[in-house]
Symmetry: C2
Subunit: 246 residues, 2 copies
């Protein structure tokens, strides 16, 4: 499994994804699931993937290598798309083309065609945008009402986002919340694990403000986990005992 989260706030965009993949509990490996595309000074895009690794890797290869875009009838790559919206549509086409070529064979082998993606980025002169793309190639977009989107094993890490992320929140506060959300997921689900890849983009910026991997020995992340655990313990001990005893 995977956990990926993207947050789009007034000040910018962030995306984070773990790197653990598993084909059964006895076949665990580390694969980067946050893929970056950029033309310096012009556009930056990131794609976080969840689902079948063969499918998501093939889609990323198609996006880099190019394929016939049915909207233009030309062979194109992702990076030459003219807007975030066109980029999301183009990724949808890649997913559909892969489904057309591989879907039946996968199904014959009892493998369902599963892939979801977060697609975020910014084109010069436009605000950052964040999409979540489904296996049918369709997608939804984050808005000020719902400024975060998640893929993969999303439930464990949702409560903290539901409570604390808002469109007007500080960008780095949201990064902290995304990491807390990641921590909650990793604690409750073995299939999500370090390292964590993350990017942060400021509205109007022309490059990633953060483009980093959090490894197992990362001091800040370790401290965040300890502090969060201690705060939760304190939080529940500070609540009075239930008065329900009859």
């Amino acid at each position: 499994m995977t956990y990926g989260v993207g947050v789009l706030v007034k000040d910018g965009l962030l995306m984070a994804a773990d790197t653990r993949t598993n084909a059964g509990l006895d076949n665990i490996a580390t694969f980067r699931k946050l893929h970056l595309f950029d033309v310096p000074g012009e556009k930056v895009m990131a794609i976080a993937t969840a689902g079948n690794l063969a499918i998501s890797q093939s889609v990323i290869s198609m996006l880099r290598e190019g394929f016939r875009n049915p909207d233009t009838d030309r062979v194109e790559t992702l990076i030459e798309q003219p807007s975030m919206f066109k980029a999301a549509q183009f990724i949808g086409h890649a997913v559909r083309q892969l489904h057309a070529s591989d879907g039946a064979a996968l199904e014959r082998n009892g493998v369902s065609f599963e892939v979801t993606m977060l697609v975020g980025g910014q084109f010069r002169g436009s605000a950052p945008r964040l999409f979540m793309l489904y296996k049918a190639g369709n997608f939804i977009e984050a808005t000020p009402d719902t400024p975060y989107l998640q893929i993969g094993e999303h439930k464990y890490g949702k409560p903290i986002l539901d409570r604390a992320v808002s469109y007007k929140a500080d960008l780095y506060d949201c990064l902290k919340l995304a990491l807390i959300s990641m921590d909650s997921t990793m604690r409750s689900n073995l299939s999500v694990g370090l390292p964590i890849d993350m990017v942060v983009l400021r509205t109007g910026g022309d490059d990633w403000e953060v483009n980093r991997r959090i490894e197992a020995g990362d001091h800040y992340f370790h401290d965040l986990r300890e502090r969060w655990s201690a705060a939760l313990r304190k939080a529940h001990t500070d609540i009075p005992a239930p008065p329900y005893r009859d």
Copy 2:
């Protein structure tokens, strides 16, 4: 959907379940999902159910009305079973018999036979026990290593239990944690909602120490939700900002 949680610690047992059922978002109702069985001074048992409501209600009716127990070849009810283990086996037989009679018809109508249950209780002279029963009628039991079990929409409320519940924890601390877990689930999933039914049983006690419903206006639960939210907000604002900016 449903959320049900049971915790078995040194001092006793607690179980809690929400009451919301839904057959589509436009068909939401309140049904009790925590069912009590007792012979005062002799034995107390509670069953929390998740899954298809028709199935779980029929199983509860079978347990009260009696059916032929394949282990004894006599018509028996749940309450006459001689131990918690025998009670869990008997419930498993009820689920299997219902599957034998209704499973095929459900399947023809595209409804899968889904039911899970938490079964907890205590017989005089024995320690409390807690089981989770699957739709095949098989079951697992809570142990000091893993003292809590969940049914239904379990992921949102799992992180707090993972962090704070242990076999040596205070019984009412665990009730508080179960209610926090319930709150997290209700905030993130519309299909889980108030009222909440709960029971608490002390090791060696011969009756429920708590047997209560938390309604929407409950002062303590409202306060717990507010305090927990405030503590989470404070917890994350107290953590320093991520130092990852390049």
